[in-house]
Chain length 232, copies 2
């Protein structure tokens, strides 16, 4: 194949995201433990997030709303509003934090940007993602940004169609097997998986449902340039 | 000009949106009046929304978070969590309601869809807007959907570039002077304004800042087909 376009996931591929959710969730667990010490807060919050996914979609605002709902439900509405106010400020803090790039991201993207067209393909909240990209300083390296509500065959096909990309010239790079690898390989394109240390349970794919070929795994984005060259 | 592509705003142009915000806000006002009868709740909520716009962006989730924040702030955190739970359910209700089309929308779009390429260009929350379009039943009439976080010269230029649209062949139809008319006319395209009965104050544009030509106002979308024909 002759690689022409390289797609990159954003959250936990180019910049840290899940660690921020995890850190906030640790504070949340602590806050609720003062009211209800014996409840598995993480499990109940995860339930609420899954239940709310079809109503709220992904992102920090959705996460904040699910934290508030779970806090009220689990305490039978006995939690004081001042604690809920704290949860609201956590959400804002997450939305305003500077974008923290993963190791080797900037130098790797700069190294390959002249050779391939780079496309950012991220899932989540439009406003939040655009804001993160702007704060990342990487915007100029990308020929375009595609923000989709779900990453599946349909959304990737749509992007290929709109941008005149043939799957045989496309490589997707991301940390999620479910969102970045499986649908892309299914369309005949190539994918490179870079695992992130913390991965949301929702993103797991059983080993036997993974494609046998059409993708590979690397440990860090610094390995990407030679992988792309090896694809010729 | 030979019109080839017609862009449509969604909220309050094709389907009702602001009335739902207004209805929820009326319930909110009533709920807060029980705790703080002498406060101008609408003004304080509007302040919070404006202040939060650069953090949250537009949409129902942002509105819900601003309602919660304002309720806690105005009551000095004395509002019971059960009332905040009610506000959370209002947000969910807004996100799940069926999409209610404005009068004449369906027949007008069906009438012109064969003649022009129709593009939905809406501002707001990606997930919410896609979900509304899906529930509207109008999806198949559009050749594409563009959801942007702000409607300004840059975002319209980006759409023109990506889709190979020349401004001279483009007409934008919408209810907001600020978002649908001014930036479009500024780029040399034509715009048709269809006022909605309730318009968010943030969308107002002083008369002397309106373009002198390049747009016109109609009372209802049913007048659109003949306006488009008259543009030749």
């Amino acid at each position: 194949m002759a690689v022409r376009v390289v797609g990159f996931d954003g959250d936990d591929t180019l910049w840290h995201s899940e660690t921020r959710f995890s850190m906030t969730q640790a504070e949340y667990r602590e806050l609720l433990a003062r009211h209800i010490p014996d409840v598995d807060v993480d499990a109940r919050l995860a339930d609420a997030e899954m239940k709310n996914l079809s109503i709220y979609g992904y992102g920090v605002k959705s996460f904040t709303l699910s934290m508030l709902e779970t806090a009220i439900d689990l305490t039978n509405a006995r939690i004081p509003a001042s604690d809920l106010q704290v949860i609201l400020t956590w959400g804002k803090r997450m939305l305003m934090e500077p974008t923290e790039l993963l190791d080797q991201v900037e130098q790797t993207l700069k190294q390959i940007a002249g050779r391939y067209d780079l496309l950012l393909i991220t899932k989540g909240d439009l406003f939040d993602q655009e804001s993160k990209l702007a704060r990342s300083g990487l915007g100029d390296l990308f020929i375009g940004v595609e923000i989709v509500s779900e990453k599946n065959s349909d959304s990737y096909s749509g992007i290929f169609g709109r941008r005149g990309i043939d799957p045989s010239e496309f490589v997707m790079v991301g940390n999620s097997l479910r969102s970045d690898i499986v649908p892309v390989v299914g369309l005949g394109a190539y994918a490179v998986h870079i695992p992130y240390s913390v991965t949301w349970h929702h993103e797991h794919v059983p080993e036997d449902q993974l494609p046998r070929q059409g993708w590979r795994r690397i440990a860090a984005i610094g390995e990407l340039p030679s992988v792309l060259e090896g694809l010729y």
